[in-house]
């Protein structure tokens, strides 16, 4: 559409199957049933906030994400009104230049924006930060991540083919939202650690689906983090040829507790991983003719080892999950930086 207000369409009945048929004719939807966005449902979602508030313009379509348009997609995804402020904050983050959403949508890589919910809103709006946090079974996580994807498809135009060139796509492109387990973090919340001092915040990191790290037996940080480093140091990730890339390391509470009880800070974990997640320079030079490396990395000799990222600050550490001893690594697409913004809970 090209006018200011979204079009209203006739739907034969208030039914998800009827909506899918209607939307299919326009090339809309993610292939799963959606909640029909009737004016009444959208008004309820908006909860009295300004529907015409322009939040962002998203490429490649240059779609204008007003609060109403965001609410429409939140209804479609199955969100409740309590989750709308999180979706709005995520759209603000998507529009940050350093995130490079144009590139994220255009790349052949499988990158999807991982939305991490921090602080009070994670609890008040019902997000899961504990057991199975990356998985199914929680409406807030599932519907918020899906709303972000639907906004990318509908407003930004990131449909496979004309607006999303991903070679294989990926399951994280359906819905990719998790809450930080701040209550079990020995280092406090992640958002404050990157300078966002807000009661509620979100982070977007455009990368791959989580890579599992399993350590059942270690009572010292080093053996656990060596396994994390092993998951980081692989040739197939974009981090290997692009040294400015970030990693997100989602430690489970038990692995984090082992590190903290040994006196390790969040920064110590990043520094250790920076020094242990390395590959031989010769191997990387053989694998990649084109390397977007920092100058100091380019100067290394073939028999040196090189870190998988150019600075320890690119290794972001937070706590996610419940009981058990499985952590995860989320590699980056590469030409993107994570963004953390406050959530305005009205």
């Amino acid at each position: 559409m090209t006018g200011d207000a979204p079009l209203l369409l006739d739907l034969t009945e208030d039914d998800p199957c009827a909506l899918m048929q209607l939307y299919d004719e326009h090339g809309w939807g993610d292939g799963l049933p959606m909640v029909p966005p009737t004016p009444q449902r959208v008004e309820t979602m908006l909860a009295g906030t300004d529907p015409d508030d322009k939040i962002a313009v998203l490429p490649p379509r240059s779609g204008i994400a007003t609060r109403r348009v965001i609410a429409i997609n939140a209804v479609l995804a199955g969100c409740e009104p309590a989750q709308l402020p999180v979706v709005v904050a995520a759209v603000r983050a998507l529009a940050s230049p350093e995130l490079n959403v144009r590139g994220v949508n255009a790349t052949t890589h499988c990158a999807a924006p991982l939305l991490i919910v921090h602080g009070d809103v994670a609890e008040s709006a019902g997000y899961n930060s504990g057991l199975g946090a990356f998985g199914p079974g929680n409406r807030a996580n599932a519907s918020t991540g899906r709303a972000v994807r639907l906004i990318l498809m509908h407003v930004a135009g990131a449909r496979p083919g004309p607006g999303d060139a991903s070679t294989q796509g990926g399951p994280a492109k359906y819905s990719y939202c998790v809450a930080e387990n701040t209550a079990r973090s020995p280092w406090g919340g992640y958002a404050a650690s990157v300078g966002v001092e807000s009661a509620s915040a979100v982070t977007l990191h455009c990368g791959e689906a989580p890579h599992n790290v399993h350590d059942m037996e270690s009572s010292d940080p080093a053996p656990i983090l060596d396994k994390v480093a092993s998951a980081m140091a692989t040739l197939g990730q974009n981090n290997a040829p692009i040294s400015s890339s970030e990693y997100f390391v989602a430690l489970c509470p038990e692995h984090a507790a082992v590190c903290a009880s040994a006196g390790w800070t969040r920064g110590h974990v990043s520094s250790y991983l920076f020094n242990r997640a390395t590959l031989p320079v010769a191997e990387l030079r053989r694998a990649f003719g084109l390397r977007a490396w920092a100058p100091w990395q380019q100067a290394l000799a073939d028999d040196d080892r090189v870190s998988m990222t150019e600075h320890p600050d690119n290794i972001k550490v937070l706590v996610v999950g419940g009981a058990g001893k499985h952590s995860s690594v989320i590699p980056s697409w590469g030409m993107t930086k994570s963004v953390t913004v406050a959530v305005d809970v009205q």
Partner: protein, 95 residues
């Protein structure tokens, strides 16, 4: 069968369109060709070969070769140099 209802379209309005491409150059003879190599594998070789063929077939001249990162927009100064020094640009290659 339920009652007919109204639903919103999910896409919203479109903002200012990106700059439109310049019109085609009708005759290449004497025109200056630029290359904007996006550094994808073999992009430079492909674009240079294409430029050479255009030069030999039309009498155009190769004026300027610039390189950019494939994942990011070309810097303003690169675009400015191309605007001032060439009449058309061969740009881009996918994976």
């Amino acid at each position: 069968m339920g009652e007919q209802t109204k639903v919103y379209a999910p896409d919203g309005a479109v903002g200012s369109p990106a700059a439109a491409p310049a019109p085609p150059v009708p005759v290449l003879t004497g025109k200056r060709i630029g290359i904007l190599d996006n550094a994808k594998p073999n992009a430079g070789a492909l674009l240079e070969r294409l430029a050479q063929r255009l030069v030999s077939r039309t009498g155009a001249v190769l004026g300027l070769v610039e390189t950019k990162n494939a994942a990011l927009a070309a810097p303003d100064e690169v675009i400015a140099r191309l605007q001032s020094e060439v009449d058309l640009v061969l740009a881009g290659s996918a994976d």
